[in-house]
Amino acid sequence: MAVLRGDIELAGLTKSYDGVHTVVQGINLKIPDGAYCCFLGPSGCGKTTILRMIAGHEDPTDGEILIGGENVVGLPPVTRGTAMMFQSYALFPHLSVRDNVAFALRIRGLSKADRYRKTDAMLEKVRLSELADRLPAQLSGGQQQRVALARAAITEPRVLLLDEPLSALDEQLRVRMRLELQRMQRDLGITFVHVTHSQLEAIALADMVVVMDRGEIKQAGPARDVYAAPRDRYVAEFLGGQNVFSGRVDAIKDNLVSFAAPQMKHVAVPAGSSRVGKGDIIDVAVRRDDVDLIRPGIDLAPDTSSLASRVLAVEYQGNFVKVMLDATGEDEFVAYVPERVFFRDPYTIGDVVQATWPCHLARLLAKTTSPTA
């Protein structure tokens, strides 16, 4: 049998349930073969709808879905070479673990001996051999998840679609299962498309993160790019770890943007390739772990931005300390200070500090607010 490619291409993919509201708005995306792709977004952003359209449980209103270069729109799920792992797993409650996993093989008409041989090998892989005769209700959440995974993988799909696979688990188990998913993906070597609302999950697992908002892709790329270089305020805030603030542009000199507001006179941001003009209101992002705190009065190195502020709250996080500041008015401004650094000279609530960072580490975000707003 020829090896089927599991690359996915979505072209102008659109879905509307009622003809008035579109839940997916003309998505274009290429997912390479064998990638671990995470669709990330809040509930109602259309990510599950996309997954269900790839799986064939939902028909697109418009657009194409290509798997391995072949348009699969209108094909039934089983001919697409996809398998879906459902949210809360949707295991067959009346069948044993073994029969759950063997279900697709039974449909394909394999003899009992054949399908149990394959199934037992798969159960071995997900370490469920001892539980093969249990019913789903007698399993823990993590075990159920492994059954669901085995049931989806038994058909040897080229694409595995996972709908919020970890959301039904508690925190500790979620971290363990994350590793399990990663291991399975490496073992199987097929494309995984995983839908989640948890940015932690997405960046921990994915080769490719697709951030969605209201039916549109906001940014798609490797996890590190999306996390470290968010394109706009939405992506930056959704992925977290960034301070986002806005200001009115005063001048652009030597490719450095400076701001009009008096409290931001020591802030400069590289303009990069974006076109900004005097008077524009622009969003700026600075990673929280790039922010250093310095007592007032100490001289700063050149090419350093700083904001004068007051400590609002201090939260000990173990390996770092989260210091919340009032530097940017309404926008939350937080510094992640390494634990040892913080306790050399701890700050308390109400202390006046300077939040500083090297100018070149701040990033200009794509505009989401118009200058007149």
């Binding site: 449980h57 799920p77 089983v78 879906m84 949210q87 295991l91 067959f92 009346h94 449909i107 394909r108």
Partner: protein, 287 residues
């Protein structure tokens, strides 16, 4: 005031007991006692213990024939109500997308129950009778030359009337158990490549078992315990177990009737036990 836990438990079951004891336990005790008394032949009971009533019931060939006839009606009715009930419920749960429409259609299923049982039976006469709609239509288009006799006052008519009356007792519990099937479970089966028939056979039927069992209990116990439909729709041509001891009562043979009633109760209990053995309803419901 502190109330012990067992008192509270008794309080919880008391409403049910207030209904069950006077309306079920006491009457059945009276029947049980009457069944082992002798009769004076004029409606009086002589309080001496005897098993003669049971001996008469159990050794009579008539009893066997009556049970055979009643079981035949029960099985036929059960089969057709199950067939109809299952597919009506299946349609309502899995094919009607709009839940409001499903509830509306479900209510329409209950419309026949807005009229009395007797009227519903009588209304079959103009349809099935010798000069009824079906016969005259078939005569008119020349399919038959003589009116079909078996349509009314026959075993056929009895089964038609029972199915008409009792299908709803199948629809309701099956609808209920189907409605609790997670739609994603069905999707998971589609994802695995299951055809509509596979899904029905491997997913829906096994997961509707409790509803099917409950509906079967309703239908079987109602048909076994009924004599009126048999009597009216067969035109007196068929008898049932109950009609026999109804005759006994009308000639004041209370102990004999009581013994028959106890035998029927035992048979019904055995049937229900058999159904419950096949399907563990308690386990299915708490699943």
């Amino acid at each position: 005031m502190r109330v012990s836990r067992s008192t509270i438990s008794w309080l919880y079951v008391s409403p049910l007991m207030f209904v069950l004891i006077p309306f079920f336990v006491l009457p059945i005790l009276v029947v049980l006692v009457a069944s082992v008394f002798e009769t004076d032949g004029f409606g009086g009971l002589i309080p001496t213990f005897t098993l003669a009533n049971y001996a008469t019931v159990l050794t009579s060939g008539l009893t066997f024939n009556l049970y055979l006839a009643t079981v035949k009606f029960t099985v036929l009715t059960w089969f057709f109500t199950l067939l109809l009930g299952f597919f009506v419920a299946y349609f309502l749960v899995f094919h009607v997308r709009n839940p409001l429409l499903a509830i509306g259609l479900f209510l329409i299923c209950t419309v026949p129950f807005w009229t009395s049982n007797i009227i519903r039976m009588i209304s079959w006469i103009p349809l099935l009778g010798k000069e009824g709609l079906i016969n005259s239509a078939l005569l008119r288009i020349g399919l038959i030359r003589e009116p079909l006799e078996f349509l009314l006052y026959s075993g056929f008519a009895v089964v038609v009337a029972y199915v008409h009356q009792l299908t709803i007792f199948m629809i309701v519990p099956i609808f209920n158990s189907m409605a609790r099937i997670d739609k994603r479970v069905v999707e998971a089966a589609i994802d695995a490549g299951a055809s509509r028939f596979d899904i029905m056979r491997l997913i829906i039927v096994p997961l509707s078992k409790s509803g099917i069992a409950l509906g079967s209990i309703f239908v079987a116990s109602i048909v076994m315990g009924d004599f009126f439909v048999t009597k009216v729709m067969s035109g007196g041509g068929s008898a049932s177990v109950v009609s026999a001891f109804y005759e006994d009562i009308s000639v004041l043979q209370y102990p004999g009737a009581a013994a028959s009633a106890i035998v029927l109760t035992v048979v019904l209990l055995a049937m229900v036990a058999l159904i419950l053995r096949t399907v563990d309803i308690r386990k299915e419901i708490t699943r």
